[in-house]
Symmetry: C2
Subunit: 442 residues, 2 copies
């Protein structure tokens, strides 16, 4: 028996991530003790279904269906919540905090919806919540935002934080797949749920964005005010035209300080093929942070999966056991009374470049009409590409227009007018181009 301080842990929820966490805590206790100076001991695994736990060969003596009793254990000071969702998981976290336990969670939806009240409860109880695993799996982005970057001034965050979407977009870009084909492929490889809505709609990315932005900007984020647009309406031809122009499409979670306020949004965006985020392929995630002193830093890795997410959970358990998570938590100032609600800009105030595709009758003068409607709103054009209509199935010819930086509200108004033109064979397609923070190489 070693003389290292023992820290007891109760795990609630033993699915993919939970069983990986339990396997690590039980199988690598000595290694963890060497690296942390603490004896991390799993006391109980609480769930209603132990199929995964059995599959992972975990000790059945640890299995328990008694949530209340497990949370009340005197020999445990840390509760790991890996239930998911925002209802039962909320109860688990609240009960754990009320019982005076610190909580480690991977639950982004819970924290995006109820973070401030849970943080407040933890503070009142003199314990903490550690949530590295809630954003981007194995990538230590929460540690970065609450560590070095907390003392810097974050200007913007651009995150690829949903592996399902990035896998689909990579397949659409690299293998010229349609959205439906790429989604089916992702599903068959276990990278997308049978009902992929939460991922492809951008909602999951918005949850992570709310958490990251709250830390980065020291402000309370109203989830409902984040503009969210998914990837499910992207068309192959736009991805192809974008590539011709030197751009790659990614689903970005963006938090950016504009001159007039804070803009938070999730949407597909064209980024330069030269930007490091453009190289993030398949199920990988990455978060680019631009800060006043650090400049551009990027954090890359696996954003999901049992093992990578368990690495973040284990790291958090160690940080709680060491007391570091508690001190960081204390210094974050993320409680409702210490933090103003962020004044989020409406999406109509976004300023960026735009990629527009119109499908128009092949008449002379149509392009001039469109340019005029854009020009009236102060939207100036950077390039025009007219492509031959490839297949004859579609009426009209596609014209791709890219603009200088413009205000989204103006672009929307102009497009309404454009869509009313007689020559338009289909509503204009509009994709934002994000290049506010190009890589500055020297």
């Amino acid at each position: 028996m070693s003389d290292a301080k023992e820290v007891g842990i109760v795990l609630v929820g033993c699915g993919t991530v939970g069983s990986a966490v339990a396997a690590c805590l039980t199988g690598q206790q000595r290694h963890l003790e060497q690296r942390t100076g603490r004896r991390l001991t799993l006391r109980a695994i609480v769930d209603v279904d132990f199929a995964r736990a059995r599959q992972a060969g975990l000790d059945e003596k640890l299995f328990s269906r008694d949530l209340e009793g497990s949370l009340a254990r005197q020999d445990a000071s840390v509760v790991v919540e890996l239930v998911g969702g925002t209802t039962f998981a909320k109860t688990v976290v609240e009960k754990a905090l009320q019982a005076g336990k610190s909580v480690v969670t991977a639950n982004k939806a819970l924290l995006a919806h109820h973070g401030p009240e849970l943080w407040e409860l933890a503070r009142r109880q003199g314990v903490c919540i550690a949530f590295e695993a809630s954003c981007a799996g194995a990538i230590p982005i929460i540690a970065a935002l609450t560590g070095e970057l907390a003392c810097d001034q974050v200007e913007a965050i651009y995150g690829i934080v949903n592996g399902t979407c990035n896998y689909i977009l990579t397949a659409m870009t690299g293998q010229d797949r349609s959205y439906a084909q790429a989604l089916a492929e992702a599903q068959s490889r276990g990278l997308a749920e049978a009902d992929p809505t939460l991922d492809v709609s951008g909602t999951d990315s918005a949850h992570k964005l709310a958490i990251m932005a709250g830390l980065a900007f020291g402000a309370r984020i109203d989830l409902a005010k984040i503009y969210v647009e998914g990837i499910d309406r992207l068309q192959q031809q736009d991805i192809r035209y974008g590539r011709e122009l030197g751009y790659v499409v990614k689903l970005l979670a963006i938090a950016r300080r504009q001159e007039d306020g804070l803009s938070l949004r999730v949407h597909p965006a064209f980024i330069s093929a030269e930007h490091p985020l453009a190289w993030v392929s398949g199920p990988f995630n990455a978060v680019s942070v631009y800060a006043a002193r650090s400049g551009h830093t990027m954090y890359y890795g696996r954003g999901a999966g049992g093992e990578p997410t368990s690495a973040a959970v284990i790291g958090d358990i160690a940080a709680v056991a060491l007391g570091n998570a508690g001190r960081s938590f204390e210094s974050l100032g993320i409680w409702p009374d210490r933090q103003a609600k962020a004044d989020l800009l409406d999406v109509s105030a976004v300023r960026c470049r735009y990629y527009l595709r119109v499908q128009v009758a092949d008449h002379p003068g149509v392009l001039a009409q469109i340019a005029q409607l854009l020009g009236r709103r102060g939207i100036s054009i950077t390039s025009v590409l007219q492509h031959e209509s490839g297949n004859g199935q579609v009426e009209g010819v596609p014209v791709v227009i890219t603009t200088h930086r413009a205000v989204e509200g103006d672009v929307r108004s102009a497009l309404e007018e454009v869509n009313r033109l007689e020559a338009m064979k289909a509503p204009a397609v509009c994709i934002r181009m994000v290049d506010e923070h190009p890589e500055r190489l020297a």
Copy 2:
């Protein structure tokens, strides 16, 4: 006056980084207090030359030439050493620790040479040393290695940790510059010293590798046993041939667990153009870490420069002020008595693929002779490219051979024999190809 706990700081060395640190501590005290809950107060700036300090508009009342007196101040608990080098800097750090101050340092050479003894001294004094800024500037790689990754099992580290070298190699690769041209360019842009030896020889990268590997593998690293090869002998034609084969050359700092031991080395290496490290351009740095649970994570950003490095220093000051740096330091187990000396493999035991270029007389049968000499040592060939001799200035024709994974000692012996062949017009060029950890996308 706020009621936040005040933490006094003495800064020793006010050059590029030091003046940026001092400007931040004095100019952003309120912001730092908001984010840390501590009032970080700069008490003194110790140096012999205050030109930079004056340039940065720092308060002259802080300037001091009295090192002893400043280190003895009762109102300071943190000393920031930004002197550089391993002689006077060592004295500063030792005196600070002896005076019971925690130390924040960016000095990789000092830690690579004397880390264990300084850590031991800090432990005896009940204080800590924080050194995020010593490796890769703004990139929080020390936080990653001592945080989440400390509980994981690191298998390998591949780092681009010298911005000067990466700038030169990017220019040689992207703009087809010669080494001399690229170096001159880097010097004129302030990205290389007048005497660039420390950087281009790989020595600076080896210092950082020693620090990172010590943390990642929990072992004491003997700097003298790291194999180091610089970039100054790389030729444009090899970079071009490599690109034809789909490879990009980078100066890599590698720490890798092989079946038979730990291999630590710094050398130019061809990596797949598809690997995220291949995309790291210009003065940027990045560190790829492969670990058992996290899988591949990569940390990217500016590896040098006043502002980016100051961000890491400020982050460390905050971590020391909060007490987190102390707890992490305690749990690291990096002291001589708790850590075995790493048993480092000789470079002859390295196993990787090899790029070979031979300049041979255009006779029949030469290639067969070379293949035979390689084959006798168990080195098998994956591809052969024979190029026409471009200019006629060079005797013979260049033949590029890539091999399957082989043992370095065998390759060296075989090349000695190859070099003795009559048909050889110049000694064979040999560049390692690193692909042990290809990106696994799904």
